[in-house]
Symmetry: C2
């Protein structure tokens, strides 16, 4: 089952303690799409400028991502410049040029409107709601957001959340959104606004799935080489939604597996700059690491 994703396609310049890269392929919807494409077909809605290189379009095409909803408009593509120090947990933004993204208005192509799985990348919550108005009866809507929208457009975000099934969000942002430091209590408050579950991203500490009746915890994979964390959260969301769309189930055991597949895709993504690692995977590599996660977390109860 295919997934509709709306978000940013960007060109990133990133510096980490291990190297640097300029004007590389980036953007939340890009990482999400390529990650999810290993599981399910993806339909992309985003905007690029006239300067967007053909070779980057070819990356998306190679992953069979439907680009009918990728608008190309006059001007330059969204650009982000950032750097990480040794702890690699926190990106420092050096420069943001919204360019064509500043006037992005997501137009959902007719053939996308029956999408059953929808992922609203981290864009203005009012635009996220506009997308949902154009989609007919989705089976599952997941949504990302960020501190910028929480502080500047909280009422609009809460309005959007009414129509969202799963909120995928960073740990610090859960606390900020709910005004509550305890994650269990913060999740309950957010449930009262609409979402049935939260996926809480904790960077190098992994992820929590908080449903109304149960919690599942998955660690991040302890890698010896973490190269560039950019796009880890979006790769995670791609693996998570990709698996759910593939198995067409929302049962507890599949939600748990989806969280692990998200963790698998994030763990690959951080091993190289841009999408360099993420583009080079296959199903065998993905299931191999899934089994590594099992070894990492498995224990037996007492007989």
């Amino acid at each position: 089952m295919s997934i509709l994703v709306v978000g940013s396609v960007a060109m990133d310049s990133v510096k980490t303690p291990f190297g640097k890269i300029d004007n590389a392929l980036g953007g939340s919807a890009t990482y999400f799409s390529v990650s999810a494409s290993y599981f399910s077909p993806v339909k992309l809605v985003a905007v690029i400028g006239e300067d967007f290189p053909k070779k980057y379009l070819d990356v998306l095409k190679k992953h069979d991502i439907d680009l009918s909803g990728l608008q190309k408009v006059k001007g330059k593509t969204f650009r982000w410049k950032g750097q990480y120090t040794y702890d690699l947990n926190q990106a420092e933004t050096l420069d943001t040029q919204l360019n064509v993204f500043a006037h992005f208005s997501p137009n959902i192509p007719e053939q996308y409107k029956k999408s059953e799985y929808v992922f609203l990348g981290n864009i203005d919550p009012e635009l996220q709601l506009e997308v949902l108005k154009q989609v007919k009866n989705p089976k599952l809507v997941a949504c990302d957001t960020m501190n910028y929208w929480i502080s500047s457009k909280k009422p609009q975000l809460i309005k959007t959340l009414k129509k969202v099934d799963i909120l995928v969000i960073n740990e610090a942002e859960v606390r900020e959104l709910a005004g509550e430091s305890n994650l269990v209590k913060a999740s309950k408050k957010i449930f009262s606004w609409g979402p049935k579950a939260l996926v809480i991203k904790r960077g190098e500490y992994g992820a929590l799935f908080v449903g109304r009746n149960h919690i599942f915890s998955a660690p991040a994979y302890p890698l010896e080489k973490v190269f560039d964390p950019t796009g880890a959260g979006d790769s995670f969301a791609g693996g998570f939604m990709g698996y759910l769309a593939k198995c067409r189930s929302l049962e507890d055991h599949d939600l748990r597996r989806a969280i692990v597949f998200g963790s698998v895709m994030a763990s690959f993504n951080v091993e190289d700059f841009s999408l360099n690692k993420l583009r080079s995977l296959d199903w065998e590599k993905i299931t191999d690491r899934f089994h590594q996660f099992k070894k990492l977390t498995h224990f037996e109860v007492l007989k």
Copy 2:
């Protein structure tokens, strides 16, 4: 099989957003002993002053902790005063009065010297080494330490580590000790000094067991009510060592269970001030929460 523990017995005054307590029972060896006592007999080596209340001794006695090695000397008991803000991850020390602990020299009673399981609480690494010189052929030596010793006595600490099997340590302290931010690389460096494994405590994110050939990750239990984190790391170590001494095995599946039992004991400990919760447990409550940890982390691989 009994466990020998050396460390501090203290009186703590603690303030959290949820309340305060004065001159309560505390200290690393106290938390360790009571936690471990649910699994195995404990022999305590520590020092108290003349002011140490009988009711606190009674707590230790009620848990059948062998107090032949608890020296009572002239002066006042070690006191610590600290507070936590809402994030509860970092204690702020307001006052430390070493008192009788300043001249603590661990004397191991004759009947303790054949102990097979030894836990060196967070004391001066030179004193930790003195303890090991008095003990005959222990089967397993685990050791805690802290940033204070890493910065002031690193050569002495490394000398002690030669004789330690498992180093139980906070995440930030692993990085500081090894001078390496990546935990996998940092662990390898520490292995070269002697220890065969590390237990890395990550506070609200749980714990990692890093062996020479495998890694096991356990989350912390996501509690709705975290009251006071004081002693969580020592309660963890008590559950970990307690289970290993109980099962008399160092096999992979038992090391994994030991990490989970450590996490179980830490999760109980933070639910109330001082040892109030830790003292009130029984085997049924402990195994119930062990099963909750299984539910929290379990997922099935694809068929």
